[in-house]
């Protein structure tokens, strides 16, 4: 301490101070010696023992499920809620090792849950294959006795626990099942999709319906609790950190539960497959949208979907004709010929081509021939001299056959009829905010001719070998008869009830092709609106006001004037409406019944499109069903409807 330092000597230190500095230095020395010895003892001599303690001191993160947001109708009535359920779960990581110990655990567990050990094994095998890292749920809504028994005998049930989870609840039963969709656990493969970013396998996500389209908003953010556990995985008490789960946002739908219920009852009464759409004409808000047959979405809130229930909902996978499966949402995914409900589209095309003037009349003799084929009115009725308005009222097929043959083009993308169908959104996705929409199609000469070219191979122009059973091929090229069929909505036309509703809305509102939507508003869990859903119209088409008035008048006469095709149904209706029947010929041999209505006639607010598969004439099934939906929409009491003696033409 007093030695030389470099080239400089310090001053001499007085004796008294030197002693005291020496004491201070001595204290420092003793201090460092003690610390070093203690460190040596801790780290070098006892290091292994402390390392073992540190390794025994591990953290396990428990996910705290965030409740999903609720789904409400436009009046705030809950359509989908959450309830908490106690689930009996098995954590496969913590199961005992060894065949015998496992077997005896499954036996005990079987007595507890009422399942056989084989069923338990099967369930564990099945669920771990889908979701390897998440616990296997054996049973839902475990009773408290089981919970207490398990808690008291936890040591005899390693890896078995009861967890409180949130599951979906449907207070309105199966109402709007197709629109709502359901929730399911997301698996590893789905997680590759961008919309599932940040999720873990086993998290719940929306499947189908608005549960799928608004999934990220409804979902919420799971919380986590980090708990220290010992080497066997048992929590040692005390929580290290906690992240609260964040409840998902609520979704308010434009749906009116009363209209929805009326619509489902109306299409359900025939015990036939069918669909309906009730929409606001001006902004595309969906008030009701349903499909028959339907199913109970609560089936998906169970831990297991029994095979019988799955077959009942999804159809038999071995049965080719699964189109009858309740899971299909016919209102948006159905692709049908629309029958005479297509006629206003044909009228617009013919008017635009210039071949048809508003005052033009056609002599309807009951039938007309093209290319050696005779096309007849339904029931072979002759309507005499008809103009456009009258032709729509009585649904003169001959009038429209002639428009189809004479004003349309038989090559390329077709003529003004196909053009107007596309402009009004027929045969194209409407862009509705409900998953699984089908696009449908409007037939064109090019498509048919190409399909035919593929079929006639190898001598055909394209010269390639095609298996007729694979892909779209056909046995003949486009002919004028195809235009004739299209003009009355028959043949290869494929459209959904929603597309027809959008097309009629565009005619009724003067040309605005709305984007239909069922979501109205997103609200945070405190009920504050955080996002309004009001998509801009998809397109604005120009419809000559005179054409529009004439078509609407024809549709009005069809429903409200004697001789109209649905006069027998709507003749005495207290609110003036416009409506068109449709009877589509299908491959099954029994006609499909259609009806599209716009109401009120003077000031169109609502459009309702209804179809019943195998329902017969439009006036037989779809028109009366539409009447019931309109009653709910317009507040019409059934008793106020006058019965008219118009037994006239229900045939088209």
């Amino acid at each position: 301490m007093y030695g030389r330092e470099g080239d400089w000597h310090g001053p001499p230190v007085p004796g008294q101070l030197a002693l005291r500095v020496a004491i201070l230095g001595g204290v420092a020395l003793v201090m460092f010696v003690i610390i070093f010895l203690r460190l040596w003892y801790l780290e070098v001599l006892s290091g292994d023992q402390y390392l073992a303690q540190a390794q025994n001191n591990q953290v396990r993160e428990f996910t705290v499920q965030a409740p999903r947001g609720e789904i409400l109708d436009r009046e705030g009535r809950a359509l989908v809620e959450n309830r908490s359920a106690l689930e009996l779960q098995v954590n496969t990581k913590d199961l005992p090792v060894g065949r015998e110990r496992r077997a005896s655990l499954f036996t005990r567990l079987g007595e507890l849950s009422g399942m056989t050990p084989a069923e338990i094994r099967e369930e564990i095998r099945k669920q771990t294959r889908l979701l390897p890292s998440s616990p296997v749920t054996l049973q839902q809504d475990v009773d408290f006795e089981t919970v207490y028994y398990l808690r008291e005998n936890q040591s005899r049930f390693p890896g078995v626990s009861v967890e409180r989870v949130y599951v979906r609840r449907y207070p309105q039963g199966s109402l709007a099942a197709h629109l709502l969709g359901y929730v399911g656990e997301v698996d590893k493969e789905d997680l590759a999709q961008a919309r599932f970013e940040g999720l873990e396998p086993g998290d719940y996500v929306g499947v189908g319906g608005v549960e799928s389209t608004y999934d990220s908003l409804l979902r919420g953010v799971n919380g986590a609790t980090r708990v220290p556990v010992d080497a066997s995985g048992t929590p040692t008490g005390r929580t290290l950190t906690e992240r609260e789960p964040r409840t998902g946002n609520d979704l308010v739908l434009s749906l009116d539960a009363d209209v929805q219920a009326a619509g489902e009852a109306a299409i359900g009464q025939f015990a036939l497959p069918g669909a309906f759409v009730a929409m606001k004409v001006n902004n595309g808000e969906i008030l009701g949208l349903g499909s028959a047959p339907t199913y109970d979405p609560a089936a998906f809130a169970q831990p297991r979907l029994p095979m019988a229930t799955a077959r009942a909902i999804f159809g038999d996978p071995d049965d080719v004709a699964t189109t009858g499966a309740p899971i299909n949402n016919r209102a948006i995914a159905g692709a049908y010929p629309t029958g005479s409900t297509f006629k206003p589209v044909t009228a617009l095309g013919a008017l635009e081509s210039g071949e048809l003037e508003l005052g033009d009349t056609v002599s309807d003799g009951g039938s007309v021939s093209y290319g050696g084929v005779t096309f007849e009115n339904a029931g072979e009725v002759a309507h005499g001299s008809v103009d456009l308005r009258r032709a729509l009222q009585v649904s003169s097929d001959v009038f429209f056959y002639i428009l189809g043959a004479d004003t349309n083009e038989q090559e390329g993308d077709g003529g003004p009829i196909q053009d107007w169908a596309r402009r009004l959104g027929v045969g194209e996705p409407t862009g509705i905010d409900v998953a699984e929409e089908a696009s449908g199609s409007v037939p064109t000469p090019d498509e048919r001719n190409q399909a035919y070219a593929r079929n006639t191979d190898p001598e055909s122009p394209s010269g390639e070998t095609v298996d007729i059973t694979e892909g779209e091929v056909t046995d003949r090229p486009w002919s004028v008869g195809d235009s004739v069929n299209l003009s009355v909505g028959q043949g290869d036309l494929q459209a959904s009830p929603l597309q027809m509703a959008v097309a009629y809305a565009a005619i009724a509102n003067g040309g605005e092709v709305v984007r239909p939507h069922v979501g109205l508003r997103i609200e945070d869990p405190q009920g504050r609106a955080i996002q309004e859903i009001a998509p801009a119209p998809r397109d604005q088409v120009e419809i000559d006001p005179d054409w529009q008035r004439t078509i609407m008048a024809g549709l009005h006469d069809a429903a409200m004037s004697p001789g109209g095709t649905s006069y027998g149904i709507f003749g005495g209706y207290p609110v003036e409406i416009a409506g068109k029947t449709g009877t589509a010929e299908t491959s099954v041999g029994i006609d499909q019944s259609w009806y599209v209505a716009v109401a009120p006639y003077d000031d169109p607010k609502y459009v309702v499109a209804t179809t019943i598969e195998r329902g017969g004439f439009g006036a037989d099934a779809a028109a009366p069903a539409t009447l019931q939906i309109l009653n709910e929409l317009l507040g019409v009491n059934e008793e106020k409807i006058d019965q008219v003696s118009g037994t006239s033409a229900v045939i088209e």
């Binding site: 301490m1 230190v13 500095v21 004491i23 801790l42 402390y50 540190a54």
Partner: protein, 396 residues
């Protein structure tokens, strides 16, 4: 104007740039040890606290680096000033220290059970940290002042009163650990000032009576002076395996952390730190972080740096050109020793939890800056001693 420049006398040494800016006479060992410590601190914070602030893995490391720049600048500035100037300003400095410590009673909100911090726009300032250094500077000045006046007993009592007054203020915040530092530096200054052995004996007797009174007798008669948690913290190290109490849990986790480090440390597998078992890992328990991550080797390296600093402080004490400098150096040496002993001792389970930082290692601006100011004072004493030895003047 002369036509030719006068030739430079051969003997006159060339003045280097360092000399001209006044850094030539600095003590290089103390300088290097200080910078090495803060560098080690920034590195340790950078690797060990990445998950502490979500989304900002280098929160503590970046702040510590900023404090380091401010602290080192202040150290170099103080090193250039002749510390004897502070002796003339003793009354002003002492008053400023008392006022700044008192300010926290008015402005500061209670944080972690104490109200030691004042919120400034850019950071939270803890006056009691810089107060330690200011107390050393002024107490040494008062000791010189009173050396030739009155009886020795009165002098001792006066100095003890001057030292214990700020200590009492800090104790009331309440910050027991820092108050004990004030006591330790007061003792050290008195010790170097040459206070009689009998006076020290009397002081120890009084202190022992107070400690026994506070810890044993007052709770026994039902009038506890310390709050329960303070009492717990002070006595928990005596029974570290009982893991029900909060304090002993912390000690236990720190012991596991240090012990599990072994000879060379666990590196990135340092679960005690990473998974959050170790409390206050960026401040009070940073030594346990070092112990777990870098093992005995790393901890020994860190302790060697402190040993180097303390050796240089004691060396500066003996080199000082006057008693005032020696007392300051002694006070600073004692301050560093006390901090290292109590903080490291707490981390390895041989000292009670008192929550005082490990100088230059624990994250925190006030502590880092105050320690660098203290190192600046040591440098100033060293520089002045060298300059006076060159001039052949020795006031001692």
């Amino acid at each position: 104007m002369e036509a030719f420049p006068r030739p430079r006398p051969f003997e006159q040494p060339r003045t280097s740039l360092l000399e001209r800016v006044g850094f030539a006479n600095l003590d290089p060992i103390a300088l290097i040890a200080g910078i090495a410590l803060i560098g080690f601190s920034i590195y340790t914070l950078g690797v060990a606290t990445q998950d502490d602030i979500p989304g900002d893995p280098y929160y503590y490391a970046v702040r510590q680096a900023i404090y380091a720049v401010i602290g080192i600048s202040l150290m170099l500035a103080v090193a250039r000033v002749d510390y004897s100037r502070f002796r003339e300003l003793r009354v002003g400095i002492y008053t400023a220290m008392i006022v700044s410590i008192s300010l926290v009673f008015i402005f500061a909100e209670v944080t972690r059970g104490t109200r030691g911090w004042i919120e400034l726009p850019f950071f939270r300032f803890q006056p009691s940290e810089l107060g330690k250094v200011l107390l050393i500077v002024t107490l040494a000045a008062f000791a010189i002042d009173t050396a030739r006046r009155g009886s020795e007993r009165r002098r001792t009592l006066r100095l003890v009163a001057l030292g214990l007054f700020p200590a009492a203020l800090v104790l009331l915040q309440p910050d027991l650990g820092t108050a004990l530092v004030y006591g330790a530096v007061t003792l050290a200054v008195l010790f170097i000032a040459g206070v009689r052995w009998t006076h020290f004996a009397a002081m120890f007797a009084v202190a022992a009576t107070v400690v026994v009174g506070v810890l044993v007798i007052a709770p026994a008669v039902g009038a506890p002076i310390l709050k329960d948690y303070q009492q717990d913290r002070l006595t928990a190290f005596l029974h570290p395996s009982n893991d029900a109490a909060d304090s002993s849990y912390q000690i236990n986790q720190a012991l596991i952390a240090v012990g599990s480090g072994g000879k060379t440390g666990r590196g990135d597998d340092a679960t005690q730190t990473q998974e959050g078992f170790l409390p206050e890992r960026h401040t009070d328990f940073i030594f346990a972080v070092v112990g777990e991550r870098f093992g005995f080797v790393g901890a020994a390296f860190l302790l060697s740096l402190y040993a180097l600093l303390i050796w240089r402080a004691l060396r500066t004490l003996t080199l000082s050109k006057n008693l005032y400098g020696s007392m300051i150096a002694g006070g600073i040496a004692a301050m560093l020793m006390f901090h290292v002993l109590v903080n490291v001792g707490m981390n390895i389970g041989i000292m009670p939890i008192t929550g005082i930082p490990l100088p230059l290692m624990s994250s925190g601006g006030s502590s880092v800056i105050a320690t660098f100011v203290a190192l600046g004072l040591l440098q100033s004493i060293y520089v002045q001693a060298r300059l006076s030895s060159k001039r052949g003047i020795n006031s001692l």
